[in-house]
């Protein structure tokens, strides 16, 4: 592998580059629609006095157009050797200057209106603060690609510096090759996310109305009406979820996985392999007959050895059959040796503590990973690599002490997935902690990240 040569400087990088001319039109898209709605409302007046209406329309268009044009003239971006600068606004100007080494990620978003014209929105996010980002609306797709590759080179330089051993070579591509892994068909998403979330409340409401109606018909009717009134809100919420998951595609690049999803707004999420803190496999009750599961990952950022403020949770697979789940799991944790059968259950005496749930608690410790199963209605399997464990806690309440049980908690840098092996024999917990520390140290001494 040869070290990469310095990328050629972007032509005209000292000058301000404008965004696409259609941008102001698209940015004021919503305002335009609202204005049109108001105008349509006043159509009656317009018919009576066409001259006045026409004058008003012309004046409005002129004012809006000139403001938009002037604002557009003053909005732009500029890349230099070390910085990315973006300026916005004519009356209220704002300039943001970002050192390229602080760049975290460069994402391309395709809102639905922009897509009609072949334009994209570019979001540049910074390492330290989740709030500080630069959003360029809207760029021609080609310009966006050029800008993105220039920026990503710099980002990758910095990222590679922090995770490679000093002295080793790094191959830095212009654009990492992306290989598709799987696309989740929308039918499954619709059934898994839409059907259950709409049908269950509707059926519950119906049953409730029947039961209450048997007692007093007016009360039953009230329940029905209340349900009908909240139905649009429910449909909207479900629609949002479905929109976010539409066209879910999982791709793989050298650095990790990439998630592309969304209908109205296309999102691209990057899941770098070395930043995955934990994975959770969820199997809701209604999916169990179909053997479908969901994969969620916890990602935590870092710069060198210090952690970032940004940690997030991403859906890796919204709904998938077991074969696909196994495939993707191996892509994320390539040293995962787990076939789902060698679980060790909680001891029988745990039934005094959790009579209904104790049988679902189980753990499996492998050489590299800690795997914990829990949950009755929504079965969860959490997988944490031993090297990602930040601290381990053992707790024992008075009731547990009576029964000679203890609980194990694994703390990771992720935010959502909290891994706990509850109500195991105390000596079990001791052994699990010991094994986790041992495996972690062995992995580190072999310099495996």
């Amino acid at each position: 592998m040869q070290p990469a040569s310095e990328p050629p400087e972007d032509t005209g990088s000292d000058q301000w580059r404008r965004l696409h001319p259609l941008s102001p039109l698209l940015r004021s898209g919503r305002a335009l629609i609202a204005a049109l709605a108001i105008v349509a409302n006043q159509i009656r007046v317009a018919v009576d006095e066409p001259l006045l209406a026409a004058t008003l329309v012309v004046v409005c268009v002129f004012v809006a157009g000139s403001y938009g044009y002037l604002a557009h003239r003053y909005t732009g971006y500029k890349t230099s050797a070390n910085h990315l600068e973006a300026r916005v606004g004519m009356v209220f100007r704002s300039t943001r200057r970002v050192p390229l080494t602080r760049l975290e990620s460069v994402d391309i978003v395709r809102p639905v209106f922009a897509r009609l014209f072949g334009l994209v929105e570019m979001r540049v996010e910074l390492a330290s603060n989740a709030g500080s980002e630069i959003v360029l609306r809207y760029l021609d797709e080609q310009d966006a690609d050029v800008l993105r590759s220039v920026l990503l080179r710099r980002v990758r330089h910095a990222a590679f510096d922090s995770i490679q051993e000093p002295g080793s070579d790094a191959r830095i591509d212009d654009r990492p090759a992306e290989r598709g892994i799987v696309t989740v068909p929308f039918g499954q998403i619709l059934l898994g996310y839409g059907a259950a979330r709409v049908l269950v409340p509707v059926i519950t409401c119906g049953w409730l109305a029947l039961i209450v109606g048997a007692v007093s018909p007016t009360a039953g009717l009230t329940v029905l009406v209340a349900g009908a009134v909240s139905l649009p809100a429910l449909l909207l919420a479900v629609g949002k979820v479905l929109d976010g998951l539409h066209g879910f595609t999982l791709l793989e690049s050298d650095e990790g996985l990439i998630v592309r999803r969304g209908l109205l707004t296309q999102l691209t999420q990057r899941v770098p392999r070395h930043r995955v803190q934990a994975i959770r496999m969820e199997e809701p009750l209604l999916w169990r007959p179909f053997r479908r599961k969901r994969l969620i990952v916890d990602i935590a950022g870092y710069r060198g050895n210090r952690p970032d403020a940004r940690a997030e949770t991403a859906v890796l697979l919204p709904i998938a059959p077991p074969e696909v789940i196994d495939l993707v799991l191996v892509r994320v944790f390539d040293d995962l040796r787990f076939d789902g059968s060698t679980f060790t259950m909680a001891p029988r005496r745990a039934r005094w503590r959790l009579p209904l749930r104790w049988q679902s608690l189980a753990v499996c410790w492998t050489q590299r990973h800690a795997i914990v199963r829990s949950g009755v209605l929504k079965r969860k399997i959490d997988i944490v690599p031993h090297v990602k464990v930040q601290s381990v806690r053992k707790t024992q309440g008075p009731w547990q002490r009576r029964l000679d049980l203890a609980s194990l908690h694994i703390d990771t840098a992720g935010v959502t997935i909290k891994v706990s092996a509850n109500h195991r024999t105390e000596s079990d917990v001791d052994e699990l902690i010991w094994a986790s520390r041992r495996h972690d140290e062995l992995s580190r001494s072999r310099n495996v990240l």
């Binding site: 922090s162 935590a300 050895n305 679980f343 410790w365 090297v387 601290s391 024999t425 001791d430 052994e431």
Partner: protein, 188 residues
């Protein structure tokens, strides 16, 4: 459908049952004795600090309740006195238990902190995961010459705090842990 659980194996043995013919007896011994480290206690002054706190709280109650009960009648007054004296004694004893339940042990690669009387907790923090060490000292602590040490890792849930050590010990711990943290520093 009930499936018989397959016994997994961690470090070569069966979980939940002592393996009679385990290959690595030395290993088993290490596992069983891993918590029998020398846990260092908190500062002696901390015991008095907490104990005094509970006695003062009882006294505050006494200052109000005893005169009131004496106003009722003498017997009630004496009864209340005895009751509150007993409460003070119990409070002293409880803070003593609490004090002795705290302990920390610096091992080769990680730090152990244990605490709790009713709910016993133990946290293991590997040196390589420590992001930074914080030493805190409230105004009252300063009077007694005490300080508390708090470790931070990348996980928000890490609950690694040692309250009320002597100032010198707190400083020593901070220096040592910062050194070890950088020596064993591990990325995320």
């Amino acid at each position: 459908m009930k499936r018989r659980p397959v016994e997994g194996s961690i470090s070569g043995g069966r979980i939940g049952e002592p393996a009679p013919d385990r290959g690595d007896a030395a290993e088993m011994l290490k596992v069983q004795t891993q918590w029998m480290e020398d846990f260092k206690p908190l500062a002696r002054a901390a015991r008095i600090y907490w104990g005094a706190g509970s006695v003062i709280a009882t006294l505050a109650f006494a200052a109000v309740l005893i005169p009131l009960s004496f106003l009722e009648n003498e017997a009630a007054g004496w009864a209340m006195l005895v009751l509150l004296a007993a409460a003070a004694g119990v409070g002293w004893w409880i803070t003593g238990r609490r004090w002795s339940s705290w302990g920390y042990a610096e091992r080769e690669r990680d730090l152990l902190i244990r605490r709790g009387v009713l709910v016993r907790r133990l946290v293991v923090v590997p040196y390589g995961r420590m992001q930074f060490v914080e030493v805190r000292q409230g105004p009252l602590d300063r009077l007694f010459g005490l300080a508390s040490v708090r470790l931070h890792t990348a996980a928000a849930a890490t609950d690694a705090q040692i309250p009320l050590l002597t100032e010198s010990e707190a400083d020593r711990l901070r220096e040592r842990l910062t050194e070890l943290g950088e020596a064993y520093a591990a990325g995320l």
